[in-house]
Symmetry: C2
Subunit: 366 residues, 2 copies
């Protein structure tokens, strides 16, 4: 594979040695300054920093500031065009397509979600497409943003192949993240943010590094057969076998081919172009525009309260809603700072030196 | 559970004793006449028959005419209102909500998909909701219908709880079918039609009846723990654990709560109403309205051709597209007839006698 590809996860064992803590605002400022030094407008750099730090705050370290060194490399090698702004290719009152022009993924995604939400608020619903952008990060971020503004949001993201299509023995479909968020009356938005693979790519690498046997059904060997041996595991298994990989194929069709911007075919064709790219489709209904009137958030709260009070399975201490654990981590990390591994700290320090930006202050107990 | 609930599958070992074959047109006519005898308009009876026979033709026997005895019982007990017609509750150029008024599911779903497709053809996209309807059957049918008319279609269906939410030890979410279909240049539409459970409920019952050990990861015992023991398995496991059950929860939120028609909360509340009901959300973009121009079907064909030619996993004879096997079965059964088990034949015969309709002719080799 070409060197400008990546698998949606940090290659290093990011979370093993938490050793520094920084305030999320300091980390945000540092991240934005580094990106500005690479040619990004201040506003766009802040948007990218927001998405990365949002993930770090919520404990989704695989999508946090650990990506910054890779983003900088992407800017240096023109995989990301730091100065690019998305352009509106097509629009009506309830649909649009935004071309990212290879801008940073968060810039295109946040602009698109703002447009989709504004149209949904005005007309009741919107379907928006984003094509030709780059690593979109923790896509729950964009869905939550819409949910905070009275909409439900469904986001599909298509990307390069890192998972085997059912029956194939080469990576052939994306792990295809899906995020769905809705507002609720009694807590922050409920947000499901999942890949169509059973485990993350980073878990495979971690198991390999540590020689740990993998849970059954989570990974495939290079002949496409299931394996628990970390030395043989090359790709994560799709959830539900043909279901997960079928979903990944269909999402490429509705989030890439529909936007006139195929990704997988370019990677699978022998002479195809194999560069990093992501596309997205976002579906945004306003919660009071489909018959629920004002009842949506209270009915959502009633349901989730009932769910959380159900009899629990053996070994379960708490029945959690999608995103609930992350929301708790965000509260905690807002109070105690974001942990940065020694390894990442060193990488950030190298970046800081090369672009002449001050490192973030270390956390001080208050 | 109340007697008017069902689990989305026929309780009997439907496919074990194929013994009669009938022409699909004869089976369609018979099915429609039985439903008309129960008070359904000829047009609606034909629509329901179409959906059931479509499933039988494609080898999806769990959603075929095996349901007819249950539908008749539903009509007799007013779970289905045979005479009801859906009413349009809300509409704009790109969204609507149809209330089924407890009509047969296929009647509301087909009317809604026709409306969604017409609006998408006119304006580029449509999001349609269907509430207060009954068993929707093989929902791939409706998605394919849109794909045959130049649209992509995503269909989510919400229903009563037959799967455990992650961490719970009682059925708490629906198995929540999802269908996605798109047109392609070189073959019938590609259609993914899947539940968010690893296996169908009918497979659990079959394993129990036959004392067969279940594949790992497919079923849960009544304490919510995984089991392979068919005697202990009470519900199918969600695909990807918290992912599959999280998806089921989010689909209840966007296909039921969004339409002002909650299902799960009624079932989970101690004093709630526990009747059979299904709701749906359908998202229909026109394939040339999101930037692909005329390229959608040819690009879809290029991708699927590449996928099908990939190196195959050990033990895989053919890499198949979603719906490909069913499409092949439909060709075969169009030529050779639809097999009906002796047991189902007897049930249909009882129906025929009770409503004074002639049984379908047996298949004659031509």
């Amino acid at each position: 594979m070409a060197t400008d590809l990546f698998d949606g996860t940090r290659p290093s064992g990011l979370q093993r040695l938490p050793a520094r803590r920084v305030h999320h605002k300091d980390l945000h400022q540092f991240t934005a300054l580094v990106l500005q030094a690479k040619g990004m407008r201040a506003e766009d750099a802040a948007t990218v920093a927001d998405t990365l730090v949002w993930a770090d705050l919520r404990g989704i370290d695989s999508h946090g500031v650990g990506w910054l060194p890779k983003y900088v490399q992407f800017c240096d090698t023109h995989v990301i065009d730091a100065a690019a702004r998305p352009s509106l290719e097509l629009e009506s009152s309830s649909r649009f397509v935004l071309d990212g022009n290879r801008c940073a993924g968060a810039v295109a995604m946040m602009q698109a979600m703002a447009m989709a939400t504004a149209r949904a608020v005005e007309t009741g619903s919107c379907i928006g497409g984003v094509r030709n952008t780059t690593h979109t990060g923790a896509i729950g971020r964009y869905a939550v943003w819409a949910a905070e503004r009275g909409c439900a949001a469904i986001v599909f993201v298509a990307g390069p192949p890192f998972m085997m299509y059912h029956g194939a023995r080469v990576p052939s479909v994306s792990t295809t993240p899906i995020a769905i968020a809705v507002p609720t009356a009694d807590r922050p938005p409920i947000v499901l943010d999942m890949a169509t693979s059973v485990i993350a790519f980073s878990k495979l690498r971690q198991a390999r590094a540590q020689g740990e046997s993998l849970p059954p059904g989570t990974a495939l060997a290079d002949d496409g057969s299931p394996t628990r041996d970390p030395a043989r595991a090359v790709t994560p298994a799709p959830i539900g076998g043909p279901k997960g990989s079928g979903l990944a194929l269909m999402i490429e069709l509705v989030a890439s081919v529909l936007l006139g911007s195929p990704i997988l075919a370019d990677h699978l064709a022998p002479s195809g172009r194999r560069r990093h790219q992501q596309n997205a489709l976002m579906i945004v209904p306003k919660t009071d525009a489909f018959g629920a009137g004002d009842s949506f958030t209270t009915n959502a709260a009633s349901l989730t309260t009932l769910l959380r009070q159900l009899p629990r399975a053996a070994g379960t201490d708490e029945i959690r809603l999608p995103g609930q654990r992350s929301a708790g981590t965000a509260l905690e990390r807002t109070r105690t700072g974001i942990p940065i591994t020694l390894e990442l700290w060193q990488e950030l320090n190298n970046l800081a030196t090369s672009v002449r930006v001050d490192m973030p202050s270390l956390w001080t107990e208050t």
